[in-house]
Amino acid sequence: MTEMTLVQAVNRGLHEAMKGDPDVLVLGEDVGVDGGVFRATEGLIKEFGPDRVIDTPLSECGIVGTAIGMALYGLKPVAEIQFLDFIYPAFDQIVSELAKFRFRSGGQYPCHVVVRAPYGGGIKGGLYHSQSTEAYFCHTAGLKVAIPSTPADAKGLLLSAIHDEDPVIFLEPKRIYRAVSGEVPDGDHRVPFGSARTVVPGDDVSIFAYGAMVPVATEAAEALRGEGISAEVVDLRTLVPLDEATVLASVEKTGRAVVVHEAARFCGFGAELSAILAEKAFYSLKAPIARVTGFDTPFPYALENVYLPNAARVAHAARATVRSG
C-alpha cells in the first residue's frame, strides 16, 4: 500500500501495466516529454522510451485510429485524449470502428484499446474543459465505460481496463485528481468491472453516483445522517457493464433513489438508472426518483459552482424524496 493522489494512481497503473507487458504502450498529445498536461504520464518516457510513450501530432482522429490499428495487430495501446471535450474529432473512430470491430467481423477482430480522458468540471475550465458526456459512450453498444472515484479504484480499474478484451473508455475525474489522497495497493491491483461499491450503507434512501460526484454524495449522506436520515451511497465504478444487482438491491431496501451526475440531465446516464428502477424496482419504490445533475445548458465558466451538483443539492433532493414517500 502506498498513499497517493488519484492522478498518481493512474500513473502507477500505467507504469505497472507497461512493466508487465511489452505490448502495452501509451500515445497522445504531450504524453511523452511533457508527461501529460495533468502529469498522468510523468516519467513514463524516461523509463519506457519514446517507442512506447508516443507524442503524437494534434489529431485525436489519428490517435484513436492508429491505436485501433495497433490493437488489431496485437498491441495494447492506451490512448490519452487531453480533455474529454476534445474527443469528438475521434468520435467516428470510436463509435463506428472501435465499438464495432469485434461484432462486424463475427468475432475475428477483437479491438482492445483503452481511451483515457480527464472529464468533468470543477477546475474552472469553462465550456470546453469541463464536460461530462459519458452517456454518448454508454449508449454505444460495444464500449465499456469505467469511472473511478478513488486513487485505489483509479489504479485497479485502469489495470482491469488494460487487461480487458474489449475497448474501454476510461474517464478520470480531473476535479479530484489531486484533491484527495488514498492508500493504493502495490503491484498488479485490479478492480473488476461491473461491481459497484457501497461507500456508505444506509436504509432510507439510495444515492447513486460516480467519479467526482461520489465525494459530493458522501458529504450529503453525512449531512443527512445528522438529520436522522440514513442514506446509502453507491459508487457505480463502471457504467458499462452496470452492476444492476447492487443497484436494485439497494433500492429494494431503501425504496427511494437519488441519481447524481455532473452531466446535463436530459438523456444523461441518470435517465437510464431511473428507467431501470422504474422497470425492475417499481414495486419497491416509495417515492419519485430524483435526479441531481448539471443543467440542460452548455457548461459555464464563471457560474461553474452553481452548475455543478453540490452536497446541499443532493441532500435537498434526498430529503424531499424521503419526505414525499
Partner: protein
C-alpha cells in the same frame, strides 16, 4: 507508366524483378474471375437473391496488380470495393458469397452488408462503410509492425472521394511523422458516387497530396496491371527498407453503378465510360498475352466457361446454407456477454419461443 509526382527517396522502379509469363497468366485468371463475379452478382441482386452489391469492374488491373505486389503477411486494410484483392489473397468466391447472403456460414455472421468482409487468417481486415476510417488504422498497424521489427507492411485501399476524409489527413500525417511502412493505395475511379474527381479537390493529381506530408506520391495507370505491380513493389521495398510510406494513385474508371442502389446515368456521360473501356485492363492484358503467344482465344473461352461454372456451383452451394441463427445476434458485442446482454438474450429467446419475434 509509374510517374513520380514528387521524387521518391529511391527510384521507384529499382528493385522490381520483371514479371514472368506465369505470373501474368495468374493475374489474368483472377481478373477474369473478378469481372465474371461482378456480372453475376449484379444479376443476383436484381433477382433479389442478394440484397446489395458493389461492383469493381474496370478496377481489376489496379486491384490485382497491387495485390500481387504484396506479400501474404502484409496486412490489407480495404474499403468495400476490393474484391480483386480478396480473390488474389485466396478467398474462395463461395466464402464471399456466404457473406453477401449473410447465411449461417458467413464468417461475419450476417452482421454486415454485402462486400463488407474480412478474413483474419488472410491478413485482410474487415471493411466498414464509413469512408476513410481504415486509413489511420493501417498506419497504426504499421506502427505496430515497426515495434515488432517485422519486415512487412500495411496497405490501405480507398477511393478518390476518401482523400477528402478526416482519416486520410490524419493517417497520411502520422505515416509521415512516424515514417511507417504503409502503402496508401488510392483507386481514383474518377467518381465518388455522383461527384467527379475534379470537384472532389482542386489539386491536379491526388498523388501530389503526399507532398503535404513529406513523402512521395506517384500516379500510375491503373489499367496497366504491370505498371501497378511495379509501383507497389517499389513502394513496398522502400517501406521495408525503413524509408517510409508512399501514396500511389492508380487511375482507373468505375464501369458500373456506384452500387446497386445507384444509377450513373443521372450524372455522367456514356462517352466517358466508352473511352475508358477502350483501355480495359483485362483486354489490355489479354492482348499482351495473345500477342506473346501465351494465350489463345480457345483457352480464353475455356477459362470463361470454367469460371462461370465455378461461380454457378458456389451460388448453388451458398444458397443451400440455412440462414444465420437468430441468437447469434448476442455474440461478439463483447468477448463475453455482460449480465445485461445475457438478460436481453434470454428475453429475446422467450419472445422467439412465444412467436412474438419471428425470425
Amino acid at each position: 507508366m509509374a510517374n513520380a509526382v514528387s521524387p521518391p527517396s529511391a527510384p521507384l522502379d529499382s528493385g522490381a524483378t520483371p514479371l514472368s509469363a506465369e505470373q501474368r497468366l495468374s493475374f489474368y485468371r483472377t481478373m477474369v474471375l473478378s469481372r465474371a463475379i461482378d456480372e453475376r452478382c449484379l444479376s443476383l441482386q436484381r433477382q433479389g437473391r442478394i440484397g446489395f452489391y458493389v461492383p469493381a469492374s474496370g478496377q481489376e488491373g489496379a486491384q490485382i496488380g497491387c495485390a500481387a505486389a504484396l506479400e501474404p503477411d502484409d496486412w490489407i486494410f480495404p474499403a468495400y470495393r476490393e474484391i480483386g484483392l480478396a480473390l488474389w489473397r485466396g478467398i474462395p468466391f463461395r466464402t464471399l458469397l456466404d457473406q453477401f447472403i449473410g447465411n449461417a456460414e458467413d464468417i461475419m455472421k450476417g452482421r454486415q452488408m454485402p462486400n463488407h468482409y474480412g478474413f483474419r487468417d488472410k491478413n485482410f481486415v474487415v471493411a466498414s462503410s464509413p469512408i476513410g476510417t481504415q486509413i489511420t488504422q493501417a498506419v497504426g498497424a504499421a506502427m505496430a509492425i515497426q515495434r515488432r521489427k517485422a519486415a512487412t507492411v500495411t496497405a490501405t485501399f480507398f477511393g478518390d472521394g476518401a482523400t477528402s476524409s478526416n482519416d486520410f489527413h490524419a493517417g497520411m500525417n502520422f505515416a509521415g511523422v512516424f515514417r511507417t511502412p504503409t502503402i496508401f493505395f488510392c483507386q481514383n475511379n474518377q467518381w465518388a458516387i455522383s461527384l467527379p474527381r475534379e470537384r472532389q479537390t482542386r489539386s491536379s493529381t491526388l498523388a501530389q497530396k503526399a507532398e503535404a506530408y513529406g513523402f512521395p506520391g506517384v500516379v500510375v495507370d491503373g489499367t496497366d496491371v504491370d505498371a501497378v505491380y511495379r509501383a507497389v513493389r517499389s513502394a513496398r521495398e522502400r517501406a521495408v527498407r525503413g524509408e517510409g510510406p508512399t501514396l500511389i494513385e492508380a487511375q482507373v474508371y468505375r464501369y458500373g453503378p456506384h452500387s446497386t442502389s445507384d444509377d450513373p446515368r443521372r450524372y455522367r456521360a456514356d462517352e466517358e465510360l466508352q473511352a475508358w473501356k477502350r483501355r480495359d485492363p483485362i483486354l489490355r492484358l489479354k492482348e499482351l498475352l495473345l500477342s506473346s503467344g501465351q494465350w489463345t482465344e480457345a483457352k480464353d473461352a475455356a477459362l470463361l466457361d470454367e469460371v462461370r461454372a465455378q461461380i454457378a456451383q458456389a451460388i448453388e452451394a451458398a444458397e443451400a446454407v440455412p440462414p444465420v441463427a437468430p441468437a447469434t445476434l448476442f455474440e461478439d458485442t463483447f468477448a463475453r456477454r455482460t449480465p445485461q446482454l445475457e438478460e436481453e438474450k434470454a428475453a429475446f429467446e422467450r419472445l422467439v419461443q412465444e412467436g412474438v419475434i419471428r425470425p
